[in-house]
Symmetry: C2
Subunit: 248 residues, 2 copies
Amino acid sequence: MPDPVTAALVIIGNEILSGRTRDAKLTYIALRLIEIGIRLAEVRVVGDYEDQIVSAVNACRKAHNYVFTTGGIGPTHDDITAHAIAKAFDVPVARNPQALARLARQYDPRDLNEARLSMADMPEGAVLIDNPVSVAPGFQIGNVFVLAGVPAIMQAMFDGIKGRLKGGAPVLSRTIACYLPEGTIAEDLSALQERFAAVEIGSYPFFRLGRFGTSLVLRSEDAALMARAADELRSLLTKLGAEPIEAG
Amino acid sequence: MPDPVTAALVIIGNEILSGRTRDAKLTYIALRLIEIGIRLAEVRVVGDYEDQIVSAVNACRKAHNYVFTTGGIGPTHDDITAHAIAKAFDVPVARNPQALARLARQYDPRDLNEARLSMADMPEGAVLIDNPVSVAPGFQIGNVFVLAGVPAIMQAMFDGIKGRLKGGAPVLSRTIACYLPEGTIAEDLSALQERFAAVEIGSYPFFRLGRFGTSLVLRSEDAALMARAADELRSLLTKLGAEPIEAG
């Protein structure tokens, strides 16, 4: 089997760390990456501090095929992502002429103040990422894609760059749930996992309507193998007295 | 000013990275830490893989006063957190007698199988964290607190250990919103930030009811200073033609 294609997401912003804003980006990006055969393998949430952004981006871009960052590319004093990424790549920041042209088309000259112009400042060599919502572009440098933090803009930017990403074989998944606690299933499940090494079996307990249950998620690139593992899992749950529930 | 007391959260679980489960832990922990004067400074989400857990925990426990982990302490084959934490601290795993006694009180002897017994396996020297929901305890070793992944259990465990944490001065916060785009406010805001260095000013754009707006969050340990900065911010927004909205 070839190595899986992996990605990391670096979410930049004190507003997530303070609990003020609930993150909506992880799920969006994770689900869309899976569709194109890329596995989100790591997420880091860091504050609006240059050293934190630099070290997270540098660790992630070495460890994964792709890195996506969100946040910190607006016009205010706390928007420091472009400078931090330039530092991570050890290149200077320059005003990107294409980005500048887009801002000039969007804004009345009286409104195009220095703060807005600074949204065209990017690491030298960066390639633009379109922003169909509010114009000010994101950018790509190396394997790092720098996206906006506002969810609607981040999503539009991400959809625009999907064509630049090269995934591996899509990973299929299947979820079977039951109202048995994990501890009752654990030993049979472990034996099943050993027999199906190429099917990753995850076990996630839940507490719903006053009862403990478990969601079992099978993941594999091999549809036939996964179908066999799912059959055995259903038999195993039935043998333990539970009704297997197909949950997606 | 003394150094701020900081914490990191390491969320362990493929189910978050796959986008299957939306994380509910970050916000809960962030808000409760703020109440006791601790700043959540970093979050990492890693998969159920020993090397990822070890490296995240070791990086975070050196950089922060406290580390909280969630997930991976159940009875199934993919619950590897206790072993990974022992490896991070370079200590052996042992069956904790107190944890064992709690499990023995909870389960009928016929149900206390090897999988459930394994929930008493912990790094040597670990101190238990109570689990008032489903008994199997979490544990603390050094400055690392190992909590369950199921939100209701994680929350109950966290509430139980709050007394073990020593925070700094509580950080106060105040949010003022307006229907002006960030680019219009940015330059005046930057000048305000320069004059109030001990008040951290965050600027968060939003798009609501078809209009662009900005939430401005002031944070400081000094209530009087923050009140002065808030007054100036309101004047600034009024001068720019917006109505300042008190948003918390």
